[in-house]
Structure formats: structure tokens, C-alpha cells
């Protein structure tokens, strides 16, 4: 990565996308302090998370308020049961046992794997492991959650419902007066469009676009940046001026309705 300048406000929902290998996961690791503490390399400049300089703050300190769901869930699960994995974070925060149990229940319910509570993570499918990894971070209720491709192994229905639940959780936390910042690294933009307030495109280690999601997508389309623009939007961007379309469609149904065609 080179010359990255980015400020994420508290409570924002930010999507980071870009071609594979462009540096998205590297950026996420810097935000968590995993770079420079756990990965070799050179880091110039400064990165602050809630005022903490990541170079000078131990990862264990940053982890008390920031959680990261890794791309590969196997890097995150290490105990002999899903319950123990989910309990590990709250236990390290020294929460009382009742509260830990309540959080385990809630986190497993949110990702829909209550039935796997006593299963060994090693015996789960890829998608189930991914849900367990997400639950183990949600149970810590961090103020900042960084998700690195959280739905890559999930079926379409689980992906959509998980993303919805994550943002429902964000909303319900905010109703109590706390704010939760969400940063998601993802290729599957269609799942996130209705939830995010801002989108950043990284390419070759630099931020090349940053702003309102729909504008960023249109600019990406014009510049043929290889990101997964949802197909209805690709059609919309292609014909909107010619056909006088005003509102970008979220679904195929909306696209057809806006064209005034179909059955």
C-alpha cells in the first residue's frame, strides 16, 4: 500500500472493495494493529483507531474495542467447541459469567447457529465455520468491527440474512446511545448497497475512489474498474441517459419496472 489517507467517522458503515490483491485485507489489518505488530513489513505514516496509535498500542488493547472477522475462519477458531470460541472474547474482557452466557446466546442466534453450540469447529462446513467466527466477534460487542469478506462461504440466503442482522444489531446498539462503526471488505457489493453509507475502492495499493456508494459505482463502471457491480446497475449505468432513468434499481424487478417493460 502507498500513501493511504482515510478518515472513518464513528458510526459509519464503510465498504472497502477493489480487485483481488489490491491491498484491502492489508488495510484492514493496519486498522486493527495486526500490522505492524503481527505481520512483518514496513509501515510508514500513522494510523489511529479511537485515538490509539496502532504502532504504539498493543493489539490486545486495540482488541478491547475493535473486532476483526478474518477472511479465513479457520485462522480464528481454535477451541474444541463453538461455545468456547464464542465465549473466549467476552471471557478475556473479564465479563461476569451471566453476561458471557447471554452474549453467547445472542451471538449464536444472530448468525443462526444455536444448534451448533456444542459442535467442534473442526467438524463444521466452511459456511458454518464462517458464522461461528462472526459470532465470536459479535459477542464482544466491539465499537468497531472490521469484516474481511464475511459472506464468502455462505449460501445466498444466509449471506443476505446475516448482513441484515449485522446492520439490525448496529441499529439496536445505536438506539441505546452507543455507536458502532462497521468496515466491510467485500467483493459482493449487491448484498451491502442498501446498508452502507460510503464506499472506498482500492487498486494497486492506493485508494482510487471514496464517497457515496452509487457515485463510486458509476465511476467504477465508466472507468472499467474490475469490481463486482451488480448486474441491474450495470444495465442502468449503460442506458440511464438514453432512457431517461432517474433512480438506480436495487433488483431486476425494479430495473424492469423503471424501463416500463415486462409482463
Amino acid at each position: 500500500m502507498s500513501n493511504i489517507n482515510l478518515r472513518v467517522e464513528e458510526g459509519e458503515a464503510l465498504l472497502i472493495t477493489g480487485p483481488s490483491g489490491c491491498g484491502k485485507s492489508t488495510l484492514a489489518r493496519i486498522l486493527m494493529g495486526l500490522i505492524p505488530h503481527s505481520y512483518p513489513g514496513e509501515l510508514e505514516g500513522e494510523a489511529y483507531v479511537f485515538g490509539m496509535n496502532v504502532k504504539e498500542t498493543p493489539v490486545s488493547r486495540i482488541a478491547t474495542c475493535c473486532g476483526m472477522v478474518f477472511q479465513n475462519p479457520e485462522n480464528q477458531l481454535f477451541t474444541f467447541s463453538v461455545e468456547d470460541d464464542v465465549a473466549f472474547g467476552p471471557e478475556n474482557l473479564a465479563l461476569p459469567p451471566d453476561e458471557i452466557n447471554r452474549r453467547i446466546d445472542e451471538a449464536l442466534r444472530l448468525v443462526g447457529i444455536e444448534h451448533l453450540r456444542h459442535s467442534s469447529p473442526n467438524n463444521l462446513s466452511g459456511g458454518e465455520q464462517q458464522k461461528a467466527a462472526i459470532a465470536s466477534i459479535l459477542a464482544m460487542q466491539p465499537s468497531l468491527i472490521v469484516f474481511d469478506e464475511p459472506t464468502s462461504m455462505l449460501d445466498p440466503s444466509s449471506s443476505a440474512s446475516l448482513i441484515q442482522r449485522i446492520f439490525d444489531l448496529k441499529k439496536s446498539i445505536e438506539e441505546t446511545g452507543r455507536r458502532t462503526t462497521i468496515i466491510i471488505v467485500e467483493h459482493r457489493i449487491d448484498l451491502l448497497l442498501k446498508h452502507i453509507s460510503r464506499m472506498v475502492v482500492v487498486s494497486d495499493g492506493s485508494i482510487i475512489l471514496d464517497g457515496d456508494p452509487m457515485r463510486v459505482l458509476e465511476e467504477s463502471f465508466k472507468r472499467s474498474i474490475p469490481i463486482n457491480i451488480p448486474p441491474p446497475l450495470q444495465i442502468y449505468f449503460r442506458i440511464k441517459d438514453r432512457c431517461g432513468l432517474k433512480n438506480p434499481p436495487g433488483t431486476v424487478k425494479e430495473l424492469i419496472a423503471s424501463l416500463g417493460v415486462g409482463e
Binding site: G18, P19, S20, G21, C22, K24, S25, Q71, N72, E74, N123, L124, S125, G126, G127, E128, K131, E149, S152, M153, L154, D155, P156, S157, S158, S159, H187, P226, I227, N228, I229, P231, P232, I235, V252, K253, L255, I256, V261, G262, E263
Partner: protein
């Protein structure tokens, strides 16, 4: 080329009480392109591992060209049926990208000259040339996935089982992998793709096998199966974009072969004119 026949297959993992696969019957013929679809935990990867003998049936049988997988070594089958794991890290152990790609060819005793030519070709096809001396574990998620695929495809197995090929891939890379798999199909090789990416599957596979809770709930032409709302919901899938578009445009009579957006729009305008 390879024919795989599965009869009354039941499978469960050691010490588990429940069967992961129940009463599976199917035949995958030479040159077929098949997508295995289904919800998380449906048994897709377990089925795939039974198809190339990495796992052996608890009951029933899996036969490759008429020979029971219980009597075949994994090494022998790997030469003919390549398997790309959903987690590429499970596949890596060499210290450099080029050694990882070279490993299979050396193991199978290919001549040195051919090995170097094939490695070069594979690194080029999968955009890995610039990383050839890098440690595989230092690659990004998408690059690891490409390396995992390249290191299997380099020896041109007669059939390829590929588990979640599009994870971590950007748009251009998905198209690249799609093109490579379509070429294999045109060479009459069998392709079995396990994926949640129905759009990707629809672009490559004519047939789909849909699993739910360890049982086959659908087996047939992919586009027809994925137009079945009940089946799609039961298996936690979604319709491919172009199938949805066809339906919304009122174009009935789904064709077996997948055609692209321009073909759908042409049919739509023809319908409007008539």
C-alpha cells in the same frame, strides 16, 4: 475420460451420529459440467470428496469407470480427477508459488522439460507470473485461490472438482476462471463446481445437483431447476440474474443452454414486435 457412478451412498464422519449424506444416487458422464448447489452444511463438499475417493462411503458405492473407490488409491485417482479445495491454504506446502505449481507434475513423473513449460503456462494463465518466487502464504485471498486452481489444472486432469472457485475473486478474475473452465468443458473434460455463486454456475454448468440436509432434492438442467421457486428457497439459493431477467421480461420456455444478456434482450424485442 471419466465416468463417476454413485449408488445408494451414505456417509458420516467418524464418531458423528448423523449421516451427512443420505441415499445419494447419481451418474456424472464424460464431459459433463455439473454444479453442486445447496445451503451451508448441506453436504456439498463431503459429496465432492466422495466423488474423488478422498472420503469413502460408509454404505453404498462410488465407482470411477466401474471401479469402486475403496479399491483405488487417492494418488491414482488424483491424477485423473483433480480436486481444488475451498480453502487454498489446505493445499499449500511448497515455499514458492512456482514450486507449488511444479509439485504435482514432479510427483506424477512428468519430464523436466515439460514441467517447466507447463509451469510457465499455468503461471501466465492465472496471472501469477510476478509472484513466482513468493511464499504462497503471503499471497492475498484471491491470489491463493488462483494458485490452488493453477497447481491442479497444470497436469490437465480428465475431470476437475472445484470447491467454491469464486471466493475472493474480483470481476475480471471470475471471468478468467469462467473462460478457463468453459474451455475444459469444450475439451470434453468433466467439471464439477461446488458453489453458492449461481450466476457463475449458470455460465459454466448445464446440469445442477441440488442438495439439502444431505439429500438430493433436485438433479437436472440448471436453468430449469433454478426457475423452481420452491426448490430455490428450500436450498437457500437464489435465481441467476439472467433467469430472473428472463422471467421478469415474460420470456417463457427456458432453453437448456445458457445464453447471454444480448440474446435475452433480442428475444424480448422480437416478442414486443410480434
Amino acid at each position: 475420460m471419466v465416468e463417476i457412478v454413485v449408488e445408494n451412498l451414505y456417509f458420516k464422519y467418524p464418531e458423528a451420529s448423523d449421516y451427512v449424506l443420505k441415499n445419494i444416487n447419481l451418474r456424472i458422464g464424460e464431459g459433463e459440467s455439473v454444479a453442486i448447489l445447496g445451503e451451508n452444511g448441506a453436504g456439498k463438499t463431503t459429496l465432492a470428496k466422495n466423488l474423488n475417493g478422498l472420503l469413502k462411503p460408509v454404505e453404498g458405492s462410488v465407482k470411477i469407470d466401474g471401479v469402486d473407490t475403496r479399491s483405488l488409491s487417492v494418488a491414482k485417482m488424483a491424477r485423473r480427477i483433480g480436486f481444488v479445495n475451498h480453502n487454498p491454504e489446505h493445499q499449500f506446502f511448497a515455499e514458492t508459488v512456482e514450486d507449488e505449481v511444479r509439485f504435482g507434475l514432479r510427483n506424477f513423473g512428468f519430464p523436466e522439460e515439460e514441467i517447466e513449460r507447463s509451469v510457465q503456462e499455468a503461471l501466465g494463465s492465472f496471472g501469477l507470473e510476478e509472484y513466482r518466487r513468493k511464499n504462497p502464504f503471503q499471497l492475498s485471498g484471491g491470489e491463493k485461490k488462483r494458485l490452488a486452481i493453477a497447481s491442479i489444472m497444470v497436469w490437465h486432469p480428465e475431470a476437475l472438482i472445484i470447491d467454491e472457485p469464486t471466493i475472493g475473486m474480483d470481476y475480471a478474475q471470475r471471468l478468467n476462471i469462467q473462460g478457463i473452465l468453459r474451455n475444459l468443458v469444450s475439451e470434453n473434460r468433466s467439471i464439477i463446481v461446488i458453489t453458492h455463486d449461481v450466476d457463475f454456475a449458470a455460465n459454466i454448468c448445464r446440469r445442477a445437483i441440488v442438495l439439502s440436509r444431505g439429500e438430493i432434492i433436485g438433479d437436472g438442467v440448471l436453468r430449469k431447476l433454478l426457475s423452481d421457486r420452491e426448490l430455490v428457497e428450500r436450498a437457500s439459493l437464489k435465481k441467476p440474474f439472467l433467469v430472473e431477467l428472463e422471467e421478469e421480461l415474460g420470456l417463457s420456455g427456458l432453453e437448456e443452454n445458457f445464453d447471454g444478456l444480448s440474446s435475452i434482450l433480442t428475444r424480448f424485442f422480437q416478442k414486443c414486435r410480434s
